[in-house]
Symmetry: C2
Subunit: 337 residues, 2 copies
């Protein structure tokens, strides 16, 4: 097989990051890549179409967890495949590199084949991909929700939060979300159908703010931010409340995390607080798709994306995530199919 050498634009992490990541922590490079499948290997050659910016990526930029080249979820087209489960022309999503072309294996990348293309392809970085499954398993599997319960979601307009709120409304819960701008608060109330929403940056007293929206307490908290918000939630929880710990984005860029002071409430209120990773639950993915695709097509679930154009804008998009610059799921479009 003739070797096909291509120019491959890449985003490289220049050094490990402390504090908030900056665009200058990353650099744009041109490298060559051989787009071939070595004889007898099972690698898959991908042309990346969409890349996903997700908060968890921050930890991989720190020395502690260190993974040097930037990797993340993405949607890609299979150019060549040594894996019999994937054919040239297939569309897939999974872990890929921040570059135009990636050479991966299906196992390392946890590649999923995309079957339904009558939805925006970028959705496979969001509602139909990792964040969607995160919302689904976090809410249904970890929160043990019941009709009529009160639900609070932080970072509620983000990739995961906007779906948790909609799932909770579908089940007949009372749902309140917090976000960091007026625009996002409007989205929560007018687009995603949250019962109430507030801008946490405008609240001097988060305990009082939550008390206002939940005079009788919170049954379920979907935790995306950590820190002060978690402390305020703990004192506002109801007896036998549940906290699904999905993320703690407010803490990722701090040298020392904020201490959480109100954990004693776990005892007095008999609260269950449980962390989870979506990767433990992918066996539920087919069931999730069966549920969610008709909802998307029927318009009963909506999804807002914030799409940056071009790989060169990926660093800015990723950095913006930690300042809340994105409105909805942050995606980077690398290439047309």
């Amino acid at each position: 097989m003739a070797e096909e050498v291509m120019n491959n634009k890449q985003i490289i992490l220049k050094h490990y990051v402390e504090g908030y990541p900056k665009e200058s922590d990353m650099e744009f490079k041109n490298n060559n890549v051989k787009l071939n499948v070595p004889e007898g290997s099972n690698v898959v050659v991908l042309k990346n179409l969409y890349l996903s910016c997700d908060p968890y990526m921050r930890s991989r930029m720190s020395k502690l967890e260190g993974s040097y080249p930037i990797t993340g979820c993405g949607v890609a087209k299979v150019l060549k495949s040594g894996d019999s489960n994937f054919q040239e022309g297939d569309l897939v999503w999974g872990m890929t590199g921040w570059e135009e072309y990636s050479i991966v294996t299906a196992t390392q990348s946890a590649l999923f084949k995309i079957h339904d293309k009558n939805v925006p392809l970028s959705y496979y970085t969001g509602i139909l991909g990792m964040p969607g499954m995160t919302a689904y398993v976090g809410f249904y599997e970890i929160c043990s929700p019941k009709k009529g319960e009160t639900v609070f979601v932080s970072a509620a307009s983000g990739a995961v939060g906007q779906l948790v709120g909609q799932f909770a409304k579908m089940l007949g819960c009372y749902v309140v979300g917090s976000a960091g701008t007026k625009e996002k608060v409007d989205l929560l109330k007018n687009k995603f159908g949250f019962d109430e929403a507030f801008n946490y940056k405008e609240e001097k007293d988060l305990v009082a703010a939550l008390k206002r929206y939940f005079p009788n307490g919170i049954d379920i908290y979907f935790e995306n931010v950590g820190g002060k918000m978690l402390d305020a939630v703990l004192v506002n929880m109801k007896l036998h409340g549940r906290i699904a710990v999905c993320g703690m984005i407010s803490q990722y860029n701090l040298e020392k995390t904020e201490g959480v002071h109100n954990l004693f409430c776990l005892i007095t209120k008999r609260i269950r607080m449980e962390g989870f990773l979506v990767s433990d639950h992918y066996h539920l993915y087919p069931k999730y798709l069966e549920m969610i695709i008709p909802q998307i097509k029927g318009g009963s679930v909506v999804y807002v994306e914030d799409i940056a154009e071009g790989l060169e804008n990926a660093p800015k998009a990723l950095v913006g995530l930690f300042y809340g610059h994105n409105v909805g799921k942050q995606v980077v479009k690398v290439s047309r199919e």
Copy 2:
């Protein structure tokens, strides 16, 4: 019915407490009490025999939770009863006052009749009462323990901890306990059969200490202390570990609780952390007694008590609890039967 007026020695809380409680926060008083059951009432007149000193009592001494006269668990003899479920001469345990005689109702006091008297009566403040049930439901119902798992218990020689360790050993777990003196550490290893034990006051680095005893991590943490120990445990937990939050005695006397910084581990390790109160689980009490009484009589479960003699020594005993002066379950003997 003739009124029987008796002198009633009492321990009264003089004022709400800030910081560590002191003996001088409480005072010894002599009051008269009428030991009669008003016509048509369902009160029960108790002669208190043993009073229990428990960490949770600290919160009732603060303004926030405020209950002015000191109350706590105790073992008592029924002198008179307007409640058809209790007869003169019955022995009972439940919530009572820190005094010689108490006038209560069965409901308010959650009175249990004592049927088996072939065990030390004081045990009904401990292994056969609230702390015993706490260890039982906390370990079996909240921790979801499995044979072969690794278990860490803090405040391990206390009223609850010494039992959790023994229950875990009975199930075939590897069990390590922490305590605050050499004497207690020896008890844990030589009397209660813990696999290992350490004095947390002698460890400069709790994370390293736990790593030493759990090179492969902790499956189950039975949390009695909170604060720094919880932070050290979180980074030493195994994937899918469980933390039963029973108490946080290290925090009760602080103006501002220590912050807990490592909650992000809940996500990466998919940890379930759950608070509980024994009062939700008393329907299991008969089942527990059926299990535990033969074990006590057969000697396969042991229980260490620290018995202070006389009501006048109750304040000192209670204060000592927060300095770890007690060795085993702290009891106050008020009167012989």
